[in-house]
Symmetry: C2
Subunit: 382 residues, 2 copies
């Protein structure tokens, strides 16, 4: 769920990329959200890599997780940072940009260019804050479809992503299966367990307990930095594994400056504080609330992924990380069971990574090979 | 690590109990703490159940976990609440008060009658706050020994406790093995892993990020309630298991009053908030900091539990909970390995509970039977 590319890659990627913007749903043609509210205009920030072929059959939607953005691959001209899935997307990589046209967009409700609670509400000239309507992962998919319509893409070769993005991939299949030839949901679930809701809720409470949150109306005063950093610290523990923390930190002492008795003693403490305070610079606290709530409310268990009687035509590659304890593989296997009960063309693999929930964001050959061959089969079998 | 007795018991227990107080270490005979600071006077709040026998060989020290208190059994005359280990202590129970003399005291650094950061510093007439010295689990044991000296008990039949109390039981063996005939460390570890430190650190940051914390000097203004409640919410998730949360809450919706868009939707959210706000009424935020830090700094790995060459005379019953993911059983097994390498008389059992880390606080027959027979063997073999 981190957007930082750990692991990286030495091969040349897609080079310098540029974030583009598309605005749709201008009034009066506003988008009707699942809960009934209307929203618009909606701006979508997106990047594309590779070329769309003539019959528009090679488009892959790479979806970012909770706090990610549209910059999935290549070098950002401003920050010089690589994309969050740099090792997966590029010439000759798993999502081979010599063959495929890869699209990544910032999700609705986010804060990295696409309309969200920190955007200006054109009706009032002020930022939405908590007047932003509640959104669902279904609404996020609807907005992703807007962009595909704009690009003239009728059917995706594949929709792929991990964590929240894996749920979004499943939501694509539930909402408009005729528009997805294949899906790669990674380290994800059909619905949040109470433990997953609990971790999200503690993050939300951390933000809302910060007096600087001001009931979401903080934009003239600055972010609720302490609460948001705290939410991130909690999240970060859940994204790592016991083993990866042991390898990275063990009980190493820190050299942090002594401020008072409870200044960090251990490296793991300083690291979490560092990650928390960095996060505040790039992510909006209200987006944290809206998106985490959309995840908690997501539920495709039972007949909701495939309505009864509807044939399943989408192919699936379902992946999990062996050391993921936030989204444990038994929950990912619940997806596979549902797929198999419906005779779906589905493959499941557990990646033997020690990196916990974040494993799909960290370069590993097994994930690369599995995705590459799955895409080849899907593309050649069109 | 909760002090509330879940599970309870229908049999009659030890009846109405009374917390007693002992004050020692009056100046100039102050206690020298492990870090070199001096502290005194020190008041100890404690309760006892059963009768000390003539040769004082039937004394058991029941140690409370992180946020517990001296009220381990019977009915508190004021609150009418049962003790935190009610199902374990009483006539005919595992710690049979017809046979044994059971002592429980509030730990040094706590806030339930024993000296801690919320106590008045007699030198200044003001509460210690952050002027309270850093303490270790070794210091907690030293203060426990003070009370035993006062009661004239030379050697404990047993020291027993779960979680932090299990570490304290191990610390007894490391510090003064000649004074403990047996030890029952439950759901505990030789040292905190970085993940365990990380969870504690997030709790501390939650407290210290609350402006109401005022660098620990909040006693004239009220507790940092939001931060402390948040710390407790995080802790509470780690004390339960995925399965026990699923059983208790699944995805049941709440009937909480709607205040804004992020008012709890799910029962698990309301429950955590309820537990957090209840906790604030009974526990001091600075005690949270001092005691969690003492746990993080605890480390009896390697030769520290048994210095090389010293024969191991203490008997051990080591217990773990199968569903404990905060203190996973592989870490508890590290204790057993160390014991076996030193030819200690030690038994290990994993209790097949689904209650996670809190399992030792919830009535279960297996723990009762194992503790009862272990104590009988130890007592009869004196």
């Amino acid at each position: 769920m981190t957007s930082v590319n750990i692991g990286g890659t030495a091969e040349p990627g897609v080079g310098v990329t540029q974030t583009k913007y598309y605005t749709g749903c201008e009034p009066p043609n506003q988008l009707r959200l699942e809960a009934g509210d209307k929203l618009g205009p909606i701006t979508v920030a997106y990047e594309t890599y590779g070329q769309l072929n003539k019959d528009k059959s090679n488009a892959i939607l790479a979806v970012h997780a909770f706090t990610g953005d549209a910059h999935a691959a290549g070098i950002d001209p401003e920050t010089k940072l690589p994309g969050w899935w740099e090792f997966m997307i590029g010439p000759g990589r798993a999502f081979d940009t010599n063959k495929y046209f890869v699209i990544c967009q910032n999700n609705l409700g986010g804060c990295r260019g696409t309309t969200g609670p920190s955007s200006i509400n054109p009706k009032t000239g002020k930022r939405y804050g908590l007047t932003f309507p509640m959104i669902t992962l279904g609404d996020i998919v609807t907005v992703q479809r807007l962009l595909l319509d704009h690009l003239g893409i009728e059917k995706l070769l594949c929709v792929a992503g991990g964590s929240m993005a894996g749920m979004i991939a499943l939501q694509w299949v539930a909402s408009t299966p005729e528009r997805v030839k294949s899906a790669i949901p990674i380290s994800t679930v059909l619905k949040h367990s109470p433990q997953q809701i609990a971790f999200n809720e503690v993050g939300r409470q951390a933000i809302m307990s910060d007096p600087a949150w001001r009931k979401g109306d903080y934009y003239d005063h600055g972010q609720p930095e302490r609460g948001l950093a705290l939410a991130r610290m909690i999240g970060h523990i859940t994204y790592m594994s016991e083993e990866s923390m042991e390898t990275k930190f063990s009980r190493k002492q820190t050299k942090a400056e002594f401020l008072h008795k409870f200044t960090p003693d251990f490296e793991v403490e300083s690291y979490l504080q560092y990650r928390g305070s960095n996060f505040v610079k790039r992510f909006d606290a209200n987006s944290y609330l809206y998106l985490s709530k959309a995840m908690d409310n997501f539920d495709l268990a039972g007949n909701k992924l495939f309505p009864a009687g509807r044939p399943v035509t989408t192919r699936f590659l379902v992946l999990a990380s062996a050391s993921d304890w936030l989204y444990p593989s038994h929950q990912t296997l619940d997806i596979v069971k549902l797929l198999k009960e419906r005779h779906a063309d589905a493959v499941y693999c557990e990646i033997p990574s020690t990196y916990g929930h974040d494993a799909f964001l960290i370069k590993n050959e097994e994930q690369i090979r599995l995705v590459r061959s799955f895409l080849e089969t899907t593309y050649n079998g069109r």
